[in-house]
């Protein structure tokens, strides 16, 4: 039996009911099911920072089970950063603990008149005063609550969420972030400081499920991609990305960084304390690091690749200690490291072009200035000075600045660009543009070509080989993105990590189906599972279409379409290729056609009905 808790923060009333299994299984769980709840309850008229917005914490049917990488949960709301469909996704141990306590879904609505926290102890659920915690960083909050509720897991916000910073995150297990689209600000608006969960139970599973899960655990752990992640962590990407021009530098102006060897995996290893992993993970890609002395003294989980690039090449910094410290600060204040790095890079490029003067308190906005990077993180978290502008995210900040600042705002649909270079990774270019939560490498994670995964290419796209494997060739990228968007929705909705699925294809859909069908209420084959992924993508698309979004919003920043990029031999400086831009029009035309959407990027009535989404057709504004 799955339970949903509905928490009205205005009245402090909590009601618990059985989750309707027919709807839950149709949308798989977690991200997919939360999208359905959001669509039904948070309409176009609802402001993101309002009592009417929902804040949904949801787990998947695999979360908390022995299935490999089953640690994930989703936080969903209408995004205060983008104004559209928003969600973020985190790992660690909080999600499994929530599911062990028996809850699949927590729905928060309303707004508390004072800071509160939700405390769950198995079947017991209550709102408690959190006044003494308000203003504390996430690490201090978690430390206090874990001591008070021994054996518990905690998800909380820091000062950034409390200050309604639009790029704020929710942090669990000290260093795990549900980071993207500003979910921390929604939590802060509602005066919900934390969720504490403690369970004495396990997620009920059958022996048959356990047998399959353990087999998949072995398969995932032995995969060469998993071994690489275990040995080096995600920061191992720095060197190869730099070689191929996929290391965004100076706010995406370039794709290569002349000092990448100072921020690569070997450099990070100098600060490595231990490798670790999330709940039920055989990959164990996490790296705990420590800077023992100096002004950037820090001890933290991470940084991951995205954070390393965001506070490294993107802002033209080559000091690994600053990157580690920036990672720690973002976790403590509860901020998205991708969006924060992007906001700082935006400010630096605006400064370089005379659109932003040095702030009043003598910090410089020069590229790579270490003190600036650190101080700007704090200023954004507390909305001080220029930080108040950047706390709105780069889209709004550029509008307020005017004078053409929009050309330096690297975002799609208001969400800051992650650390891929679209001009050399055309699948990512398309994936960033079509993502329904804004620029996002994880919404599609089209990596078959980037990883050089010939095995997956031969298995999934035999007729499109070898051309589909060429990262800079747009021809078959729409086919790849349509497929991987469905797979990504499946992974997020089941509560598992993409590092076990579409990052390296340790597990394919047939592996997932074998386990899923051993869970009560689920009956899928490979085709219908992929259709469920497609259903979720279409539902999320319709959420945005109902708000008036269409093709005009599936656009990349102009930089990637018009500013030609070159890739150099990093040893000799010789030009290997030049003139790279993105032919987005071609890819969008083909993508919409493959999806069965209109040329304007809106699902058709026929497509919606074929996916069991006929109930959405009244909301269609485009034919």
């Amino acid at each position: 039996m799955a339970l949903t808790a509905f928490v009205d923060l205005s009245t402090k009333k909590i009601s618990v009911s059985e989750t309707p299994m027919d709807i839950l299984t149709m949308y798989l769980g977690s991200r997919g099911y939360a999208a359905k709840i959001l669509y039904d309850n948070v309409g176009p008229e609802v402001e993101p920072l309002s009592e009417e917005n929902y804040l949904i914490f949801s787990t998947g049917p695999f979360t908390g089970t022995p299935w490999p990488t089953s640690a994930r949960y989703t936080v969903t709301a209408k995004s205060p950063l983008t104004g559209i469909y928003g969600y973020s996704n985190s790992s660690g141990f909080f999600g499994p603990e929530l599911r062990k306590a028996g809850f699949d879904v927590l729905i928060f609505t309303g707004k508390s008149d004072k800071p509160v926290m939700l405390v769950i102890e198995d079947a017991s659920i209550s709102l408690e005063d959190a006044g003494e915690l308000w203003g504390l960083t996430t690490d201090k909050t978690e430390k206090i609550l874990r001591a008070r509720y021994e054996g518990s897991r905690v998800a909380s916000i820091g000062p950034a969420g409390e200050n309604l910073v639009k790029i704020s995150s929710v942090i669990n297990d000290y260093g795990r972030a549900a980071a993207r689209t500003g979910m921390g600000a929604v939590m802060g608006y509602k005066k919900l400081k934390a969720i504490v969960v403690r369970s004495s139970r396990e997620v009920p599973i059958t022996p048959a499920f356990k047998k399959i899960a353990l087999k998949m655990m072995g398969k995932t752990g032995k995969h060469p991609g998993s071994k690489n992640l275990r040995k080096w962590g995600t920061v191992h990407l720095v060197d190869p990305k730099n070689m191929v021009g996929d290391l965004p530098t100076k706010n995406h102006r370039y794709g290569q960084f002349d000092r990448a060897d100072r921020i690569n995996a070997r450099s990070l290893n100098r600060y490595l304390e231990k490798n670790d992993g999330c709940f039920a993970c055989p990959i164990r890609c996490s790296r705990f690091t420590r800077v023992k002395e100096g002004k950037y003294r820090a001890r933290t989980e991470g940084p991951e690749y995205e954070t390393t690039n965001a506070f490294g090449p993107l802002v033209y910094n080559d000091n690994m200690e600053v990157i580690i410290y920036a990672n720690l600060l973002c976790n403590r204040y509860g901020m998205d490291t991708i969006s924060t790095g992007a906001a700082i890079a935006f400010a630096m490029e605006c400064h370089e072009n005379g659109l932003l003067s040095d702030p009043e308190d003598k910090i410089s906005l020069k590229w790579g200035d270490e003190d600036t990077i650190v101080k700007l993180i704090e200023k954004i978290a507390f909305r001080e000075g220029i930080g108040d502008l950047l706390a709105e995210g780069v889209r709004e900040a550029s509008k307020k600045l005017g004078k053409g600042a929009e050309r330096y705002a690297m975002h799609v649909k208001g969400l800051e660009m992650p650390m891929q270079e679209p001009r050399v990774t055309k699948g990512m270019a398309l994936g960033h543009s079509t993502s329904n939560r804004g620029a996002d490498h994880l919404y599609a994670l089209p990596t078959i070509d980037l990883a050089g995964n010939v095995e997956a290419g031969e298995k999934l796209f035999p007729d499109l080989m070898p051309k589909i494997m060429e990262p800079t060739d747009e021809t078959y990228k729409p086919e790849m993105v349509v497929y991987t968007e469905a797979c990504s929705a499946i992974a997020d909705s089941l509560g598992i990590c993409k590092f076990s699925t579409i990052e390296n294809y340790a597990l394919y859909t047939e592996d997932i189906v074998a386990g899923l069908n051993e869970l009560p209420g689920y009956d899928y084959d490979e085709e219908t599972l992929l259709q469920a992924g497609e259903r979720i993508v279409n539902l999320e698309r319709m959420y945005n279409c109902r708000l008036g979004l269409n093709r005009k919003d599936d656009q990349l920043p102009d930089r990637f379409l018009t500013e030609k990029m070159m890739v150099l031999d990093i040893e000799t400086g010789r030009v290997i290729k030049d003139g790279l831009t993105v032919n987005l029009r071609y890819m969008l035309d083909k993508y919409y056609s493959l999806r069965g959407w209109s040329k304007n990027g809106v699902p058709t009535r026929a497509k919606l009905e074929s996916l069991g989404l006929g109930w959405l057709t009244d909301d269609l504004r485009d034919t």
Partner: protein, 89 residues
């Protein structure tokens, strides 16, 4: 013996070809072949494939659609793809 070598990503840009047929010594290992390819296409190719005379960890090899290690001994008519493993982030 005759084998086919395929190039992706920046390796294709340097070699200026997607595929080529090469005549190589019978029983040559992948690492031995990479020495030959490094010589054939010069410094830029060698810089991608090697660091300090060792094959870089993120250069991978697929023979007839299956990943193999650098000590794999090639057979006549094998189809080898040299790939850069970059993935997503």
């Amino acid at each position: 013996m005759e084998i086919t070598v395929g190039y992706f990503n920046i390796l294709k840009d340097i070699s200026q070809r997607q595929k080529e047929v090469l005549n190589v010594p019978a029983g040559i290992t992948i690492s031995g072949l990479m020495e030959l390819i490094g010589e054939k296409y010069g410094d830029s190719m060698r810089n991608i494939l090697f660091k300090n005379n060792k094959l870089r960890s993120y250069v991978l090899f697929a023979v007839n659609g299956r990943l193999v290690k650098q000590n794999y001994r090639l057979k006549a008519y094998d189809e080898l793809y040299i790939v850069m493993s970059v993935t997503g982030g």
